[in-house]
């Protein structure tokens, strides 16, 4: 039961790399906060500062209302799941899980009870006597989770815990992590570069770029109202189509809605495009002629890679499509589905 508060946190590494340039995030009790952003944007650094593994150069980090800047990782009562799992290779699964409890001087029978109970929930009971090298990737991941859960810490920290798993397992574990976190009600911070993981797991989503927070909010709010072109192109797959405007005009557009005066970029999501729609729907919307350059049928949907208005766009159509490379298509996006961004990339 804990809140995590970051106030204007900065990190300058020895050598002068400024990895985190002033981040403020308040994570309410029992919530799962996901930090998402491209590689090198400072997510891990921020997480490691919450863990106490890196010193905080400026600003404060509080857990449960108490500033922990000067407290080491040993006393912070947090648990972390590392990307490479960091299981102790010379210990059996049982001892891996018991290690943290033993260090805190818990009585033996209590440790045993807890380890076995946790192993039960994670379906690890039959693996307790094995060593990490005798486990599959997914099983190791579970043990790493178990090691974190068994201690019932104040805060869980995850650093890209699923990125070493194959796609199918990743999907399963994602659901499982979410359920576990709900069940246990432990405040969590989860780092990933995968926008799908970010969208599905987060209560609070933080999109980071170059050491700064680009946008913070509920995942669907961010999806619907990205605060900048960066967020727009990072959240959503395939990402939002962005076309540059020249003095309020989009060259090659068949019809263009009223455009805010300071807009420099117009954006629309592939899934918001309608192919060949006509009539009333078109009123005030954006209409383009697109030349198809590639077709990607995925099964439930197909993606059309097109050239339009001097740029490249992706259009999603449901199910299969008869469209072929070289076709010319009218593509429509309704007024309310359009996004406008200023010259600085910020939403207008």
């Amino acid at each position: 039961m804990a809140t995590v508060d970051l106030k204007d946190v900065k990190k300058v590494y020895p050598g002068g790399v400024e990895a985190v340039k002033g981040v403020s995030i308040a994570i309410p009790d029992k919530q799962l906060c996901v930090l998402v952003g491209p590689s090198g944007c400072g997510k891990s650094t921020l997480l490691r500062m919450i863990a106490g593994l890196e010193t905080i150069s400026a600003g404060t980090c509080s857990i449960d209302g108490k500033v922990v800047n000067a407290i080491g990782p040993t006393e912070r009562d947090i648990a972390m799941v590392f990307q490479n799992y960091a299981l102790y290779p010379h210990m059996k699964v049982y001892d891996n899980m018991a290690y943290g409890l033993r260090n805190r001087g818990m009585p033996k029978d209590e440790i045993d009870k807890r380890v076995r109970a946790t192993a039960q929930t994670l379906e690890l009971a039959h693996l307790l006597e094995r060593r990490p090298r005798e486990l599959s990737g997914g099983q190791r991941q579970r043990v790493a989770m178990g090691r974190a859960i068994v201690r019932s810490p104040k805060v869980f920290l995850f650093d890209e815990p699923l990125s070493n798993l194959d796609a199918k397992l990743r999907g399963q574990m994602r659901v499982e992590i979410k359920n576990l976190q709900r069940q246990l009600g432990v405040t969590s911070v989860y780092v990933t570069h995968d926008q799908l993981e970010a969208m599905t797991l987060a209560d609070v989503l933080v999109v980071m770029n170059a050491g700064l927070v680009e946008q913070l909010g509920a995942p669907l709010d961010i999806y619907e109202k990205p605060a900048s072109t960066f967020v727009a192109s990072f959240i959503g797959a395939p990402p939002m189509n962005l076309l540059p405007l020249r003095s309020g005009q989009l060259e090659g557009a068949v019809s263009l809605p009223a455009i805010p005066t300071n807009a420099a970029t117009i954006g629309f999501r592939p899934e918001d495009c309608e192919v060949g729609a006509d009539g009333a729907a078109a009123e005030g919307g954006l209409r383009l002629m697109a030349r198809v350059q590639g077709v990607e049928p995925v099964g439930a949907e197909s993606f059309l890679y097109c050239e339009a208005a001097g740029g490249r766009i992706v259009v999603r159509v449901p199910g299969r499509t008869a469209v072929a490379v070289g076709d010319q298509l009218p593509v429509l996006t309704r007024r309310e589905k359009l996004h406008f961004f200023g010259g600085d990339g910020k939403r207008v």
Partner: protein, 294 residues
């Protein structure tokens, strides 16, 4: 086992290994067989004739109280040298991990003693601890220790152990630094988060993961103490006082080259050869199936 390369040519492979075989035969098997032969011969006092006595020399050597004493001295000396050399090296390596600025310079400096020849290292220690002129001996006396390794066997032993381990510390340091670097940092971090304080982390995570390095060094250090410390002992104590620092290797030299009891000396070298083969076999077996945790 990896698939073998098959040479169609029947003679070339033998030609290619011939030089190596020749060298091994001339410089190892031939002297070794000579030693074996010599160990079964007994010479008359004038060196004019010798007769074949089978294992009499071995019997004599193994029942000689001086030889048994030498075994004991060697055991004490080897265990102490390995322990001191490895313990100190590990401590230094762990501390070197914490050095951030000038790490490279620090490590290079630590490696230098390895380049000093054993006899010179021995002389260095001899001078430092010489009861009448040594500066460190002066310090010891000032501390109230009655320092005289020329008379006191235990002090003499301490001195050769110190000199012998000093030379080996660099080598061990190098391996321990490499061993420590091979331990993933996230393991230490995970242990810290799991509530283990630094000392606890060392003994429960770092030390067990260093086991392969430690075991390898244990073998190397024992072999070193057994066989490569002749120069140091010769320079520092000459095996004395009495026979307090006369190790097996030193006794071979003493009996053979100084006292000219060739048969005994040869029997002793054969015994030593058996010991070194046994130790090397352990080492090779070990290197083959190195402990893998990963």
């Amino acid at each position: 086992m990896s698939p073998r390369v098959v040479f169609p040519n029947k003679i070339l492979p033998y030609l290619l290994v011939a030089p190596q075989l020749a060298i091994t035969l001339i410089f190892f098997y031939w002297p070794a067989s000579q030693a074996l032969r010599q160990s079964m011969l007994r010479e008359d006092p004038f060196g004019l004739s010798s007769k074949f006595v089978w294992f009499a020399n071995f019997k004599k050597v193994l029942s000689d109280p001086n030889y048994l004493n030498s075994i004991q001295v060697t055991a004490v000396f080897s265990i102490a040298t390995a322990a001191v050399a490895m313990g100190t090296a590990l401590l230094l390596a762990v501390m070197a991990e914490k050095v951030i600025r000038g790490r490279g310079v620090y490590r290079t400096l630590m490696i230098w003693p390895y380049a000093v020849a054993p006899a010179i290292a021995g002389m260095l220690w001899l001078f430092l601890f010489n009861p009448s002129i040594g500066s460190l001996a002066y310090g010891l006396r000032w501390l109230g220790i009655n320092w005289d390794p020329l008379l006191d066997g235990e002090q003499a032993m301490a001195l050769v152990v110190a000199a012998a381990s000093w030379k080996q510390i660099s080598y061990n340091f190098l391996f321990f630094v490499a061993g420590l670097q091979a331990i993933p940092k996230t393991l230490i971090e995970a242990a810290a988060i799991d509530g283990a304080k630094p000392t606890k982390r060392f003994w429960t995570i770092v030390f067990p993961l260093l086991a392969p390095t430690t075991f390898f060094l244990l073998v190397v250090n024992t072999v070193y103490a057994f066989f490569d410390t002749f120069g140091i002992i010769h320079a520092v104590t000459g095996g004395g006082p009495g026979k307090a620092t006369e190790t097996l290797v030193y006794k071979v030299y003493n009996d053979g080259f100084v006292n000219l009891i060739l048969g005994d000396s040869a029997a002793q070298s054969v015994i030593l050869m058996v010991i070194v083969i046994a130790l090397t076999a352990i080492q090779f077996r070990y290197v083959e199936k190195k402990v893998h945790y990963g």
